[in-house]
Amino acid sequence: MATATLKREEFTVNGVKIVQLTAGKGEPLVFFHGAGTFHGFDFALPWAEQYRVVIPFHPGFGESDDDPKITEMHDYVIHYLEWMDQLGLGKVNLVGFSLGGWMAAAFASEHAHRLKRLVLIAPAGLRVPEHPIKDLFRVPGEQIPAMLVHNFEVIRPHLPTGPDVDFLVARYRETSSLARIAWDRPYDLKLPRRLHRIKVPTLIVWGEQDQVIPVEQSDAWAKLIPGAKVKVFQEAGHLVLDEKPEALKEVAAFLV
């Protein structure tokens, strides 16, 4: 098991304070998180044995500041272009989960030449009418955690045990940031027109019991991204990386 810890770094991108967590050495593995950061990133530590793991908080999420000027996914794509340039990151391995998966796919569809390999973990961003993304805006907040996992014990330690104003305010803030770009819909109707431009090796990872974005959506992604491979893990929900160490290993192995 990894002994590394995540180190906190802080700097400014286009006037917005950005915080990122890093661990390990070697080739960069950039991780784009989902719309809720409350379950932390310790799950990613095993990757630090092989890679320089870099986990930036998106503007409006976690420890990074808000950027109210962000109103669409493309604003995040540009943000991450600037961020990569600023960090002097050449070609990176990009792993994106859920909202971050959509972000990674959008980035890759425009700037695949900045990537070595791409991994999409239960990504949002596609409209698959037969297997729609669960509209989490319709779900009362207290019901959401259980919906994220197959095994509730995985997420329990990250939840408050009683009324916790700070926790609720932090969730409201992240949900608001999500709403800035996805209140009307959690996908981009134009994305299918662009995904064929992703010409880097791509792995798609899903939990079989995903209650937020149905595992059936993996087929749609695989059809649209040339040569993409799909790996589905049993007894795992939306937070497949938190639930299945094998999924982490699979990602690490794919990126080598």
Binding site: T71, G141, V165, V169, Y172, R173, A179, R180, W183, R185
Partner: protein, 403 residues
């Protein structure tokens, strides 16, 4: 004692749908997701007839204004298009101002709202007053999701800017905004009153709304926040407006009051209290999630609300009576309470909730009548006549006489 000049009394009605099904308490919210199969249009028709007759009575009794407002997907109000109710009231009433307080601005195209209100002003020969609400959080769940609550305040500002421009500048003009652009902004009709009908902003004391009101020098109504907080908001508004060169007059500050008048205090409590309880426990019942869609509030505001008094779905008489403008009692007692409230707020516009919740018709009529005959004269006596107008063309009584 002398009260602010030109004290006026507006009667406000929410026109609620009161026929709740057995077991409705199991629904956390009677907004947004309360199934509309519980709506019976026959009963709805009867309620419209009845409620409109209460407005008409208020006009006859000498109330200065009749106030309607708008909400969606709820039993709380049967006015998802409050301009329609205003249009219904105009030919049935003679004297009272028709106050549309109002359509949440973001739910309509600004030119469309400017036109609709101009129609009402022309139809009524200048009896219109309007208030621009941002709309409750609930409205953003019940309307198209391409209306984003995270940008609602900026959109609200821009829409109001367009409406005022459409009313005050000769068209055709153009508008090039963040949310709307107009190639030909040229509303027909334009308002009867010049430069435009009196405008208020409805808020809950949030800094954003107060700032907008101060910049534009509009009137202001603060709702669903405790009286002391409202009075503080009014003070802040006056201070802030002054820095923009505006003097906020007493007639631009609205105080809302829940009132029931009866022969004795005991009788007033016996007759009135249960309906006020219904209003807070049932009509207003909704969830924190619906009250604050993502981005509708800043995190600071959310934090404040989470620790503030809960009003939606709860009713605590002592809390209510001590923190809000609620008075149930004899005409003397009611007049005394209102005199105090208008004085502390330096306001001359009182919006009265004389019908609330599931109050039956006879009580609404009794309350309206007793207030008009026994309370109003007591208060009017203490308020000097209207100050000279600020140049707006007043409603023309001669024309109304003819009708």
């Amino acid at each position: 004692m002398s009260l602010p000049p030109d004290l006026q009394f507006y009667f406000m009605h929410f026109m609620p749908y009161i026929h709740l099904p057995e077991g409705h308490k199991q629904y956390e919210s009677l907004w947004v997701e309360f199934p509309n199969r519980f709506y019976d249009p026959v009963k709805g028709h009867q309620l419209y007839q009845r409620y409109i007759s209460e407005f008409v009575l208020a006009d006859k009794l000498g109330y200065d204004g009749l106030v309607v407002n708008e909400h969606h997907s709820t039993t709380y109000s049967m006015m998802p298009a409050c301009g329609l109710i205003a249009a219904t009231l105009i030919p049935q009433t003679k004297r009272a101002k028709v106050c549309v307080f109002g359509t949440p601005v973001n739910l309509e195209y600004p030119n469309r709202l400017a036109e609709e209100y101009a129609m009402l002003d022309v139809l009524s020969a200048g009896r219109l007053e309007v208030a621009f609400p941002l709309g409750t959080g609930m409205e953003y769940w019940s309307n198209p999701a391409n209306l984003n609550p995270t940008t609602c305040r900026d959109r609200f500002r821009e829409a109001i800017d367009i409406i005022i421009k459409a009313w005050t500048e000769d068209g055709p003009s153009t508008y090039d905004g963040e949310f709307y652009s107009y190639r030909y902004l040229n509303v027909w009709p334009k308002p009867y009153q010049k430069p435009h009908p009196k405008v208020y902003i409805v808020g809950t004391g949030s800094p954003e709304t107060l700032q907008l009101t101060a910049e534009r020098g509009f009137g202001y109504a603060s709702v669903f926040v405790p009286t002391t907080q409202q009075v503080r908001s009014f003070y802040e508004l006056r201070e802030k407006a002054a820095t923009y060169g505006h003097t906020i007059r007493p007639d631009q500050i609205i105080v809302n009051a829940i009132v029931y008048v009866a022969e004795s205090e005991e009788q007033a409590m016996r007759e009135g209290k249960e309906h006020i309880a219904f209003f807070f426990e049932d009509a207003l019942r909704t969830t924190p999630r619906f009250l604050a869609p993502p981005g509708y509030l800043t995190t600071d505001q959310l934090r404040k609300r989470m620790t503030a008094t809960a009003l939606h779905g709860k009713f605590d008489w002592d809390m209510m009576a001590s923190q809000f403008r609620v008075v149930l009692g004899t005409p003397e007692r009611v007049a005394e309470a209102i005199a105090h409230w208008v004085e502390e707020a330096n306001s001359s516009r009182v919006v009265l909730h004389l019908h609330l919740g599931n109050m039956p018709h006879w009580k609404a009529v009794k309350n309206l009548t007793l207030f008009a005959e026994e309370v109003m004269p007591r208060l009017r006596k203490l308020s000097p006549a209207a100050a000279p107008t600020d140049g707006r063309r007043a409603a023309q009584p001669a024309l109304q006489e003819v009708r």
